[in-house]
Amino acid sequence: MTRLLRQRAPTDDHPLTKLILGSVAIGFIALFLLMPLATVFSEALAQGLNTAVGALHETDALAAIKLTVTVAAIAVPCNTLFGLAAAWCITKFDFLGKNLLITLIDIPFSVSPVVSGLVYMLIFGLQGWLGQDLRDHGIKIVFALPGIVLATIFVTFPFVARELIPLMAEQGRDEEEAAVSLGASGWSTFRRVTVPNIKWALLYGVLLCNARAMGEFGAVSVVSGHIRGLTDTMPLHVEVLYNDYQYVAAFAVAALLALLALVTLGVKSLLEWQFAGEIAATHSH
């Protein structure tokens, strides 16, 4: 032991420091992250697995799951296409207002989700700019699927773009320019050169985008109108059940969402460990 101590490099912490700081870090993570997660599963299974699974088979729960999947199935492809287009523009061309575009992309991250929902109410809500016209024509946006999709797209659109921009900026334009000079068309350059270079980062962005799209609460809560069985997504259904004191059912739906989060984390880490170089270096949201 003393030999080990003596061999400690001068830039290494004292073993006691390591022990203390390590315990503080692990303790903090266990207390603030692990325990809430454990609570979700423990509460969901409080009356056994069958009760929990049964709660997921109730009509309203099934409707909420279906709505959540539908919303994500629309919002995620939209934002994937947009993210690709935005990253492509920003990194492969020079144009006026580029910095403005980059700032705009980041806005949903710095705005409260409730404000994100609010802006759509101000436009499409009954007392919004277009509310009266929409009602006259019998078009429903808020308190219906289109509003939920719009709010979800707004909240999740930075994910793909933000993942791609640093990577594509780093890769530069040389390969594309070479392809074009060899006679490739714009589309085949994009398909054969750009996409293979960014596929893992793209997958990573889509994954995060999907997790957020399925889990979004604040923005969707504002525009959904909370019509049970119709406009309640899974997170909103969790709220309804919880406020109804149906704790087991609430935590059962919550556990399903938590599983989605864990799968997302798992795949995300796998991508990071396998393809670290092919995904941009820093990730902060």
Partner: protein, 258 residues
């Protein structure tokens, strides 16, 4: 490119314009009155105050977590590292009901804390706990890459010159981490100010005591007071921008002094 700009303006610029224009139908006095009622002021104070305290706590523990994850080697380190992202991946409503059950008077943590006379759930303390939960990864994830790239030359030099580890940390490591630490803390803060889902379940939402600003927006909307809701939204947005602007100014000022 045209498509990108169109998509962005349709999705972001027009809605934001609606937010900024709408409250002024009340006139300046009406706007001022809407955001200075005692209930709204208390909510704004709680949102910004609790976010600041949570960010401060996260800056300390986030630094320790990042340090341990980057510098120490222990079994399961990769898993702990991946797990730090949980608050990013877990839907906020799920976090909200979980924290609320955990800290409720009969919960795993709530019961022992109640014995100590400390109430967390359904008080402003609960708001703080939720904001610490969602803010931690911002600090850790911002610090980690910078900490990993920090070369040990300067630390070795400090050690040869007879500095203790603590002195090295305070005089050599911390100064070079400070801009990143501030940036990460600021991100945690601005996320916490607007946070809704993870907070409302544990907050108890007592008017004037544990209501947060985003909840006030929802309440105003439910009262069909769209202009009032937009007014609170504008104040939150404005305060966040002023904060970010001040922070950028501070950082460029400190960079220019070096």
């Amino acid at each position: 490119m045209g498509v990108t700009l169109f998509y962005l303006s349709a999705l972001v610029l027009i809605p934001l314009a609606a937010l900024v224009i709408r409250p002024w139908e009340l006139g300046f006095d009406g706007f001022w009155a809407a955001v200075t009622t005692p209930r709204v002021l208390a909510a704004l104070k709680l949102s910004f105050g609790a976010a600041a305290i949570a960010a401060a706590i996260n800056s300390v523990f986030g630094l320790i977590v990042a340090w341990v994850l980057v510098r120490y080697r222990f079994p399961g380190r990769k898993f702990v590292d991946a797990f730090v992202d949980l608050p990013f991946a877990l839907p906020t409503a799920v976090a909200g009901i979980a924290l609320s059950a955990l800290y409720a008077p009969n919960g795993w943590l709530g019961a022992p804390l109640a014995l100590l006379g400390l109430k967390v759930a359904y008080t402003p303390n609960g708001v703080l706990v939720a904001l610490i939960f969602i803010g931690l990864p911002f600090v850790v994830r911002t610090l980690e890459p910078v900490l990993a790239e920090l070369t040990r030359d300067a630390e070795e030099a400090a050690a040869t010159l007879g500095a203790t580890r603590l002195q090295t940390f305070r005089r050599v490591i911390l100064p070079s981490l400070l801009p990143t630490l501030v940036a990460g803390t600021a991100m945690a803060f601005s996320r916490a100010v607007g946070e809704y889902g993870s907070v409302i379940f544990i907050a108890g939402n007592l008017p004037g005591v544990s209501e947060i600003a985003p909840l006030m927006i929802i309440i105003k909307l439910q009262e069909y007071d769209y202009a009032g809701a937009a007014a609170i939204g504008v104040v939150m947005l404005g305060a966040s921008f002023v904060f970010l602007f001040a922070l950028n100014a501070l950082q460029s000022w400190s960079a220019s002094r070096r």
